[in-house]
Structures are given as structure tokens and as C-alpha cells.
């Protein structure tokens, strides 16, 4: 009985790993794109951006005050972006983000 349970658990985790591997594989015919988000007039423009996994998002600060780009749970964040500074990130999953200096400024990345 214990051996049967052990085999069942093993099969389950093997299938799970296979599914995860499939989910992370990139489409062979897709060339990752670069998207630009302007930080302008105290807004992320566009505030909502649809991308594919592996695409790069490039944020540039067009304001006269400093901003940053911080994931909503702070799992990743840009350095401080002074006027004219930029930062980019390869997108691996959908994320909501905000400016931790001006907390009412929000944006969202949606992976198709």
C-alpha cells in the first residue's frame, strides 16, 4: 500500500513538472518584443500593457521629479529613476506595479 502511494505521488509530481515545463517554454516562432512605458505627467503611459512572456518593457521617466517602478508586493523594483532615467525588465508573468514614491501612480503588465 505504501509503495503504491509512493508511485502515485511520484507520477503526480512528474506530471506537474512536465506541465510547468510546458508552461514556461517559449513559442519557437516568436521573437521577443520591446515595449515602452513613458512615465509622464505623473502617470505610467500606457498604464495597462499587454505583452508576451519574454518581452522586454522599457520605462523612461519624462517627468521633472524622480519615480520608481515597484511590483505591488515588492518582489522586484527599479532603482530610483531621476528625470530622463530609464530601466528595463524582461517580463516573466503578469504583474501589477506602482511608484513607491507617489503611491497613487499604478500600472499593470498583462502576459498574453
Amino acid at each position: 500500500m505504501r509503495a503504491f502511494l509512493f508511485i502515485k505521488t511520484g507520477i503526480f509530481f512528474s506530471l506537474l513538472l512536465m506541465l510547468m515545463a510546458c508552461g514556461q517554454s517559449k513559442r519557437p516562432d516568436y521573437t521577443p518584443q520591446k515595449h515602452v512605458v513613458e512615465i509622464k505627467d505623473m502617470k505610467f503611459q500606457p498604464a495597462e500593457l499587454s505583452v508576451h512572456q519574454g518581452d522586454t518593457v522599457f520605462w523612461i521617466n519624462r517627468d521633472i521629479v524622480a519615480h520608481d517602478v515597484t511590483e505591488k508586493d515588492k518582489t522586484w523594483a527599479s532603482p530610483l529613476l531621476n528625470a530622463g532615467d530609464s530601466w528595463e525588465k524582461v517580463v516573466t508573468k503578469s504583474d501589477a506595479y506602482y511608484c513607491s514614491i507617489h503611491i497613487t501612480m499604478k500600472g499593470e503588465l498583462k502576459v498574453n
Binding site: 505627467d41 505623473m42 517627468d63 521633472i64 521629479v65 528625470a83 514614491i101 507617489h102 503611491i103 497613487t104
Partner: protein, 174 residues
């Protein structure tokens, strides 16, 4: 409490009457530049008090943002007037701003702890509302120089974001 209400009403009344009242003055670009610098410097001065006295980290963090952002606006204004060879000129409005700011700072310095946090944030809400009104209805329309007008227009969303941020903290402090 009375001092807090007085401080808030002071700005609302003075700047609103300046913006919407019958006594709206005619301002030159040099006078507008002076008002812009003074209005930003006032908020830096309030924030410097908050950096020393705030008990809530959110309030101290907000104050730090006010210092950095308003200094950035002043730096842009100074750069522009230097380029335009305009010397900011004191005028009755800018003098009144300075005078009112002194009263507000006295009020803030008389508070401590949570009462200070509330007084500072309440004043920030009123001050930003009043300044946004004045910039939109008087300073931008009366600016003759297009670059000065553009700078003031660029400042409006900054002040509006500050107002939203202050209102958010104000709700959290209640």
C-alpha cells in the same frame, strides 16, 4: 484644534479669494515666477518640520517626497528665469504667502505626536487644493511667456498627485 482649523482656513480663504475673488491681481511673469517659487518653498518648509516631528512613517515618507518634488519644481523655475533673464519679483500675493506660511509653521511647531501628523496632513490637503486652484485659474492664464506657462502646466499633475497622496494618508489617520 482651533489653530489647526485656522491654519487650514487661512490658505483656503487667502488663495481661493486670490484665485476666484473680485480682487484677482494682474501679474507679470516676474511676479508669477516669485509666487511659484514661494508656494513651493512653503511646502518644503512645512515638510522639513514634518521630517523632524512626524510620528507615523507614512507621514515622514510623504514629507520627504514633498521636499524632493517641490525642490525639483523650484530648480526648473530658477533654470527657466535664469535663461529668460527674468528676476522673480516680490508682490503682495507672494508676500501674503510667506506671511501665511509663517503662521502655519507656528501652528505645526505647537503640535506633537499623532496631533502633529493630523495637523500636517490636513494642512497639506488644504494647501495643495488651494495652490492647484491658483495655478490653474490665475498663474497659467496670466503667464505671458510660453515656457513659463508650460512649466506651470507641468507642475499641476505633480501637485494633484501630492493631493491624492495626502488625502489617502488623511483617511488612514482617521
Amino acid at each position: 484644534m482651533t489653530m489647526l482649523i485656522t491654519g487650514a482656513i487661512l490658505y483656503t480663504f487667502t488663495l481661493s479669494s486670490f484665485a476666484f475673488g473680485q480682487q484677482t491681481p494682474t501679474l507679470s511673469d516676474a511676479e508669477i515666477a516669485s509666487i511659484a517659487v514661494v508656494a513651493n518653498q512653503n511646502d518644503i518648509d512645512f515638510a522639513k518640520i514634518a521630517m523632524q516631528k512626524a510620528s507615523d512613517p507614512k507621514v515622514a515618507e510623504f514629507a520627504k517626497t514633498m521636499i524632493n518634488d517641490h525642490q525639483a519644481v523650484i530648480d526648473m523655475a530658477v533654470e527657466l528665469v535664469t535663461k529668460l533673464k527674468v528676476t522673480p519679483k516680490d508682490n503682495p500675493v507672494s508676500k501674503e504667502y510667506v506671511s501665511n506660511a509663517k503662521k502655519t509653521m507656528e501652528m505645526l511647531n505647537s503640535k506633537s505626536g499623532k496631533a502633529f501628523d493630523k495637523a500636517y496632513v490636513d494642512n497639506e490637503v488644504e494647501y495643495h487644493r488651494a495652490v492647484i486652484g491658483a495655478v490653474k485659474t490665475v498663474l497659467i492664464p496670466q503667464s505671458q511667456n510660453e515656457e513659463l506657462k508650460a512649466l506651470l502646466q507641468k507642475a499641476v499633475p505633480i501637485f494633484e498627485t501630492h493631493l491624492q497622496h495626502a488625502e489617502m494618508i488623511q483617511k488612514q489617520l482617521k
